[in-house]
Subunit: 236 residues, 2 copies
């Protein structure tokens, strides 16, 4: 087993289009760290649920949060198997046959056992981490969490047991004989971009955008801003 890569098991093997599979940690981490929202699959009484959730990574652990009251947290507090998936849509690919229509994307499926964060120190770190991971330094700039808020907030942690990345980044790929067909084809790029910040109407006058947020400038790709913010907060 190569420490720089996740082991390939029955659970994380890329069966469909295996040439798109990526198992090296850096590639998997970059896909995760460029995302703000993941989809989390979990099971209650045999019924699967898929919940979109803000999340972040610390070393080989994923964290997310929710109200102490939420069904997801309650069901997961005992430590339950989950699958966390982060996906970036990068392009629409229009080919000369329906079969070769596709999209370019980067995705990660991460597997592990999720449990509620109960250690008070780990919870305090998570409260700040959830803010600072996205907005470097911001936990020091805002009003600290009250005891009531801390109580009402739960965090879930999932050490990544296995993960796989999957990437399609090529152009139109048609069957050789189809290139002669008079069909308009293209790869249409898709980007998630930031708009101009809209200050809160009740914002006090004279406040400038903090340094830690300057990466979130209008027109920039969100995934780039998120990855940059991640490395500001976790320099190694």
């Amino acid at each position: 087993m190569d420490d720089a890569s996740f082991p390939i098991t029955n659970r994380n093997r890329v069966r469909r289009k295996p040439d798109r599979g990526r198992f090296d940690r850096q590639t998997v981490y970059d896909i995760l760290d460029a995302a703000m929202v993941a989809h989390i699959a979990y099971v209650i009484d045999g019924q699967p649920y898929c919940t979109p959730t803000g999340f972040w990574r610390e070393d080989d652990k994923l964290y997310w949060h929710g109200s102490s009251a939420s069904r997801m947290i309650r069901s997961q507090s005992a430590g339950v198997p989950v699958c966390v998936t982060a996906t970036h849509l990068d392009a629409i690919v229009l080919a000369r046959s329906g079969f070769h229509h596709s999209v370019n994307y980067r995705s990660v499926m991460a597997f592990g056992t999720a449990r509620l964060v109960t250690d008070p120190d780990e919870k305090t770190r998570a409260l700040d981490g959830f803010v600072d991971r996205f907005f470097p330094g911001r936990s020091k700039e805002i009003r600290p969490a009250t005891a009531q808020e801390t109580k009402a907030t739960s965090f879930v942690v999932m050490p990544i047991d296995e993960a796989s990345g999957k990437i399609r980044s090529t152009h139109v790929m048609d069957d050789e004989e189809d290139y002669a067909l008079p069909v308009w084809t293209a790869r249409i790029p898709v980007r998630q971009v930031l708009g101009e910040p809209e200050p809160c109407p009740r914002q006090l006058p004279g406040l400038d955008i903090p340094d830690g947020l300057k990466g979130y400038r209008a027109g920039r790709a969100l995934d780039e801003a998120l990855l940059e913010a991640y490395h500001m907060t976790y320099p190694d």
Copy 2:
């Protein structure tokens, strides 16, 4: 029970932030029809999986596809419970406390039993539908599917038993006493936008973008283009 709305059950009730819940079919359908990729949660031997997949809606049914060989399709062909979730990230919301940091979003969780499409007519319709739903009229412009391709393609259909939408679309919402704090706050819009189409390098000369694809113009929001394409193909 109101036919214009999904019934609220133990499964689709919005427990966390119930004021954000939406159960009317039109709102739920608009969120689904503005998306190209959903995340599908399913269970194999107690292990949840969350797979990003291209999907579309026809009436009250969701369709998606995959290779006949894929684990997801094999596990679902018998008819298994799934949860299909579509999510649009609309803004990042920076507040004066960590507790009120948020994102604006539109999401739908749809529940039902998925089964493999085995009826040949339904499968033929799905082959065209998957192309035309996104790219109106395109199934008539491309090379038709071969018998081999048809055989290698599987579709899954899931009648929506229950669904719930969830929307946050407000501005910064802080505790009243916190508005006096000197903290920079903002709502930063996020949009998934289309770039300039990059034609296939081997494209024949003299081909123009077909009418059905003209909605996919550079700079446009993908969700708008997808919703417009949907209504071109399904006018009612």
